[in-house]
């Protein structure tokens, strides 16, 4: 691009600032209120950590958080392996029979309403008589999040210079060796970013988890949702603040990884 569209005008800057304020203001307000000593939202009772203390005494919330973390780690890891393999197949496999179906299945869950995905997986689990709980939620999350991993890793693979792999093979590398010593190190940051994306998505999901979990094993979003339906509670502000802080940390790490891969050349996944 020689010159960009013109310089940003005052109107442009204002639009951008308003847009970003719209995105961030509600979250900032939520975070501030989580430190409010007063139970009433209208009253500012000074800074306090009491809602965090109450949160850490809430057994149901803690066990839900623990469940979410376990589901997230297992699902994200499985999704990363499967999603990376899928990305390799799509980016390097050429045109094979059933490729359109394959990519269709991988892209559909990205936009499909979650109620449909959740319902269909539940009906499968009921039909094969699988006991619902940790494993069914994990399986459902693996299916959903591997699609996101595929998109991220495939974008990176498409951006790679193929002549590097070909050169390695011309010099006597087997395809597996060329992949392990040339391709994998180059796509590694996007695989890591894919894992983190899968993990946060799993941590975030309410609808699919509601369909696929059994009694007694709720995830954090299910727990928050049932509390939120009963009205605003300061403890919820606290737990939400903790999640926001956690996710923000994960994103910063992921984007640093992605920036690292950017600095090595080529355009990376839109992260």
């Amino acid at each position: 691009m020689a010159r960009s569209l013109h310089k940003p005008s005052a109107v442009n800057i204002a639009a951008l600032a308003l847009g970003l304020a719209f995105l961030y203001l509600p979250i900032v307000i939520l975070v501030i209120y989580s430190f409010n000593a007063s139970r009433l939202v209208t009253v500012w009772g000074g800074w306090s950590l009491q809602w965090y203390r109450e949160l850490f005494n809430d057994g149901a919330m803690l066990s839900a958080a623990w469940m979410s973390l376990r589901v997230g780690v297992v699902a994200a890891s499985a999704a990363t392996v499967l999603g990376t393999l899928a990305a390799i197949g799509l980016a390097r496999g050429g045109f094979f029979r059933g490729r359109t179906l394959f990519s269709g299945m991988l892209y559909a869950p990205l936009v499909m309403p979650e109620v449909i995905t959740g319902l269909s997986l539940l009906l499968l689990f009921v039909a094969i008589d699988a006991g619902r709980g940790f494993w069914t939620v994990t399986l459902a999350h693996t299916t959903l999040t591997m699609c996101f991993v595929t998109v991220v890793v495939q974008a990176r693979l498409n951006g790679l210079d193929r002549s590097l792999e070909e050169a390695a093979m011309d010099l006597g590398c087997s395809p597996a060796r060329a992949f392990a010593s040339v391709t994998l190190p180059l796509i590694w940051p996007s695989i890591a970013a894919g894992w983190m994306l899968a993990f946060t998505l799993s941590l975030d999901d309410l609808v699919i988890a509601s369909f696929t979990t059994g009694p007694g094993s709720s995830t954090l979003p299910i727990r928050i949702y049932s509390e939120v339906r009963l009205g605003v509670k300061p403890e919820i502000n606290a737990v939400c603040t903790l999640i926001v802080a956690f996710v923000a940390t994960v994103i910063v790490v992921a984007s640093l990884a992605s920036k690292l891969s950017n600095d090595r050349g080529e355009n990376a996944a839109p992260l």
Binding site: G93, I251, P270
Partner: protein
Amino acid sequence: MNGRRIFTRPARIAAVAPYLWMVLFFLVPFGFVLKISLSETVIAQPPYLPTFDIFAGWEALRAALAKFSTDNFYLLATDDIYIFSYLRSVTVALTATAILLVIGYPVAYAMAKLPRRWQAIAMMLVVVPFWTSFLIRIYAWINILQHDGLLNSVLLALNIIDKPMPWLSTDSAMYLGMVYSYFPFMILPLFATLAKMDGTLLEAASDLGCSRLKAFWFITVPLSLPGIGAGALLCFIPIAGEFVIPDLLAGSDNMMIGQTLWLEFFTNRDWPVASAIAVVMLALLLVPLLVYEHIQRKQLEHG
């Protein structure tokens, strides 16, 4: 190109596991949805008939198949509740997408005009909320909109209103929540096409005496059509099936189809009707999905 051919086969073999996985856990489940949508509701566990016994043999399967009925679909087509739900979903999704387009375009446009370095930062800033739990983002609005929430306090303090206004449980609150949640989904594709645009076209237009507004309308907008299409569909399809946002922010008198499905499934325990709703919803959403797929392929062809 010998090397490439060597690489193709292992890559295809690598795809076998995810392929099987998606068939098993994405495609096959739809078979079950379809099957149960044709079943009859009963009070039992599981709450539908007929059930298949895979080992009972061909005759038993045939007998079960003979019991399939389209009653659930007949119900969907004749009962106002379902028809209104579908209509409301489409109306809400169209309205929300239109609002998103109107307010998302200026933001994406402004981002595209930033210097490269700042573009990356702005994009990062837009993506972060997209990664933050949507449930939390909806909840953040409840904090603001509720009866004794921030909005009412501020308006009362400024003497703009003299008693608290009911913001929550209204359609406006729901639209606000939707626009807020899907904002990044609209901005990112728009930004992607706008950032790729060749600025010299606009310079040429202004050299030839075109006003900036005219240049925007006749050059920028048509060139960004793929982004507009992608953004609109990325928002329209999930919004049409939304459950959480209308459930937490809108009133309970007008339900969207995702809520109706949820209600049939969890409250009425009518799995066959819930499945039938899902089948029809999927069929309706397949139209924009195919359009989206078509747009993407076109974009790929143009490089």
